[in-house]
């Protein structure tokens, strides 16, 4: 069977896993990596699950590999920080059956809290890293990655980027190759990483890196595209390869690196000898460039003209190298920005409205509710990484004492709480801070596009699963005051928050209401504004609901967006909303 299809990079990646005979997948969602796992779950031959976080996912995948089946685990760039602990030692143990890890970087921070370059993790953990440039390569590189993993006894990371993950291009489909379960034999010197054995494995890792470097010298994953008309050379990787080809065409010879760790030495030296000037076109940090300088290749130009911030594209390259700039038109008009907003009917809105009204310090976290930081709600003081709301609040209160404890809260989503909020809550109970933690339980992992999680009662395949009982969990770690409130009820929610702030004990408030976009959620009819009763006071506008706007000095509700949540109705003192 051979067939051409348009596929997202992530979808092609999933197809590659399928074709390579991958058996078990354990991942945690994160843009732009999520669809790999969602898509691979559609193949019956592959067992796939959402783990509570990336560390658990990576350890599960390593367990699968040691157990003898080809394994995969996917995450976004910051997820690899969470999974770094198992990664750095999995590098030492190596694998039994192949282990492939996807890490998706987000150049341009379309959906992330930082712009880290995950190649640094590959270098530091001494794990090989491949980087495809389009969907076809995604599929092929995954298959290669499994071979490299098994041939060199190592986990292999495949680095994705937003543009490669979320662009569709043409892919040739082929059949799955079933790979039998490998035998498992107990080998403590390989799998028990206590000092005596780990010392031996570190020697192995260094030797392996040298072998991988030799492989990188001749592997077809690294290729030189020589142009007869070339005026200069370019070394590039990932999405930047595509921008390079489009901008420079035959004016440049291109060394395309599909293996971004370890980098070849002789291949680069030979290529760089051919031209007076070599441009290194790589997004984010100047890793290839530093490598060139380290091996004594100095006719390279990289970060002095290409920024280490954001994405590169064909225009940037054309401008920096060829001095070519496109003409364009624009209106002489001040065009308002359109930042993302909480959806109409979002249960987070009511909660943040109350927090704004109370004027408390809000230790924030990551999810749809981070939008509570934007105007008009503007009710968030900090957002760092998943879980940091809870532990950060404890620290803030330890710094500022009892007074602060009555005037601050942490907010954290259900998925994020399970991911890494629980340990912070244990710390609050164990080390006694009178902190107030609010769990925004919308029964789904919203931000990344509706993934199930251990609180939702369903697994990745949508089958029934055990749902963590948040109330009991919080009590079990030592929080005595656990309350539940409905964020569609503003007065009740405000009252509950007030009481818990006043209490001289740590407390958890579960603000519970499913995401308005969930299919099973029944919406009430859209609300209407009575033009007669509306006095144009704009109190409803303070909610920041995208369905409400002002026309001719009166509020109007967009019936295509409104889901009838009713918080604007509760807010209106004139009874103008029905």
């Amino acid at each position: 069977m051979s067939m051409k299809k348009l596929m997202l990079g992530n979808e092609a990646f999933a197809r590659g896993l399928y074709e390579a005979g991958c058996r078990v997948v354990s991942s945690y969602p994160g843009t732009p990596s999520t669809e790999i796992t969602e898509k691979v779950a559609e193949y019956d031959e592959v067992y796939a699950e959402w783990a509570p976080n990336e560390k658990v996912a990576m350890e599960t995948a390593l367990g699968v590999s040691i157990g003898g089946a080809r394994a995969f685990c996917g995450m976004k760039h910051v997820g690899l920080n969470v999974a770094a602990d198992p990664l750095y030692t999995a590098s030492y143990t190596g694998v039994n059956a192949g282990l492939v890890i996807a890490v998706a970087d987000d150049q341009g921070m379309h959906s992330s809290q930082n712009e880290q370059d995950s190649r640094h993790h590959a270098i530091a953990s001494k794990v090989p890293m491949l980087e495809p440039s389009d969907s076809g390569e995604c599929k092929e590189f995954v298959k290669r990655a499994f071979e490299i993993s098994e041939n060199f006894d190592t986990p292999v990371i495949v680095r994705m980027s937003t543009r490669v993950a979320h662009s569709q291009s043409v892919v040739e489909i082929s059949e799955r190759r079933e790979i039998g379960l490998k035998e498992y034999t107990k080998k403590p010197e390989k799998y028990v990483m206590m000092p005596a054995y780990a010392k031996g494995r570190h020697v192995f890792v260094e030797e392996r890196t040298e072998k991988l470097r030799e492989y990188a010298e001749t592997s077809p994953l690294n290729r030189a595209e020589i142009s007869e008309k070339a005026e200069f050379g370019v070394i590039t990787n990932g999405a930047a390869y595509q921008y390079t080809k489009e901008a420079l065409g035959e004016r440049a010879s291109v060394l395309k690196l599909g293996i971004v760790n370890p980098l070849p030495v002789e291949l680069i030296k030979d290529f760089c000898k051919k031209y007076k000037k070599i441009y290194i076109i790589e997004e984010l940090d100047g890793i290839i460039e530093s490598h060139c300088r380290n091996i004594g290749v100095n006719n390279v130009v990289g970060k002095e003209i290409f920024s280490c911030i954001g994405e590169i594209n064909q225009s940037v390259i054309a401008e920096k190298i060829l001095g070519r700039v496109n003409n364009f038109q624009q209106l002489d008009e001040n065009i308002p920005v359109r930042p993302p907003v909480m959806c109409a009917g979002c249960p987070h809105r009511g909660l943040f409205y109350c927090l704004k009204k109370l004027g408390v310090m809000v230790s924030g976290d990551i999810g749809c509710y981070t939008l509570g930081a934007s105007a008009p709600l503007s009710a968030m003081d900090t957002t760092i990484c998943m879980g940091a709301s809870v532990s950060g609040l404890h620290g803030f209160n330890k710094a500022r004492g009892a007074d602060s404890e009555h005037r601050s809260v942490a907010v954290i989503g259900d998925s994020t709480f399970i991911h890494s909020g629980i340990t912070g809550l244990v710390n609050i109970a164990y080390n006694n801070s009178n902190s107030t933690v609010i769990i925004l339980d919308n029964s789904i992992t919203g931000m990344t596009g509706h993934q199930q999680n251990p609180t939702t009662g369903k697994n990745l395949k949508g089958e029934p699963a055990y749902a963590v009982n948040l109330e009991e969990l919080c009590k079990a770690v030592g929080i005595k005051r656990v309350r539940v409130t409905d964020p569609y009820k503003l007065a009740e929610t405000e009252q509950v928050i007030r009481e818990e702030l006043e209490a001289d004990e740590a407390s958890v408030i579960i603000s519970r209401r499913p995401c308005a976009l969930l299919k099973y959620v029944k919406h009430s009819p859209a609300l209407k504004v009575s033009g007669e009763k509306c006095v144009g006071c704009k109190a409803c506008m303070k909610l920041g609901c995208p369905a409400i706007s002002i026309r001719n000095k009166k509020a109007v509700i967009d019936h295509t967006q409104c889901v009838g949540c009713g918080i604007c109705k509760e807010q209106c003192k004139f009874g103008a909303i029905e």
Binding site: K4, L6, T31, P32, T34, E35, H110, S111, D134, R163, H166, S167, Q168, S169, V170, A239, Q242, Y243, K245, E246, A247, E311, N313, Q314, S315, N326, N327, F328, Q329, Q330, L331, E333, N334, I335, P336, V337, R338, P339, P340, V341, M342, C343, C368, L371, S374, A375, P376, M447, T448, G449, K538, M541, G544, C545, P546, I548, S549, I550, D558, T560
Partner: protein, 189 residues
């Protein structure tokens, strides 16, 4: 053949993903190399959403930069204005006349600019369509994306059959009839 670039812009939730997939499928069936670049994640929550479709003999970059788009298809007027710099000289802008207030307008910090369709027409070839009404006529406000694909289809000459196949491929069966109607209404604008 030179690479052609079509940009699809709108507000998160308006269905630009479906539109770009329809178009991508038609172009693939026409025998082109195709790349479609989508936006997932944060901006899908009611923010500005931009999708790129590029086709030709061999397409490298999946993104479209300023001054590169042969055509822009826009689901919302303010987004049309925002995307104008991406249009090539002589390029075409197909825009819905729908207006959706962004947060700075909702909060009263800024005004929604007036007469955008007219102002855009002074700068480029503009086809303005009340896609929302046509979509509602077809049975759902959500189908304005497909109405605009119909408008695009009437301005290009890819066989009708390819569009129909793409609709079948990309739209869930229970919404197929509705979307076919929306497409037809757009086509006859």
């Amino acid at each position: 053949m030179e690479i052609k670039s079509i940009m699809i812009v709108g507000v998160g939730g308006q269905g630009s993903l479906l539109a770009s997939r329809l178009l991508g499928n038609v172009l693939l069936a026409q025998g082109y190399d195709v790349k479609v670049s989508e936006v997932h994640g944060m901006s899908q929550r009611g923010g500005s959403v931009v999708t790129y479709v590029k086709y030709g003999e061999k397409v490298y970059s999946p993104v479209i930069e300023k001054g590169e788009a042969d055509m822009i298809i826009s689901f919302e007027l303010l987004e049309s204005a925002r995307s104008l710099p991406y249009l090539k000289e002589g390029g075409k802008l197909i825009t819905s006349t729908q207006q959706i207030d962004p947060m700075p307008v909702i909060t009263g910090n800024m005004e929604y600019p007036e007469n955008l369709a007219e102002k855009l027409s002074e700068k480029a070839k503009v086809i303005a369509v009340d896609a929302l009404s046509l979509a509602e006529q077809a049975g759902s406000a959500k189908a304005s994306n497909v109405v605009l694909m119909g408008v695009l289809a009437s301005r290009t000459d890819y066989p009708e059959e390819l569009w129909q196949n793409a609709l079948k491929e990309c739209v869930p069966a229970k919404f197929l009839e509705l979307n076919k109607k929306a497409f037809e209404l757009g086509r006859s604008v």
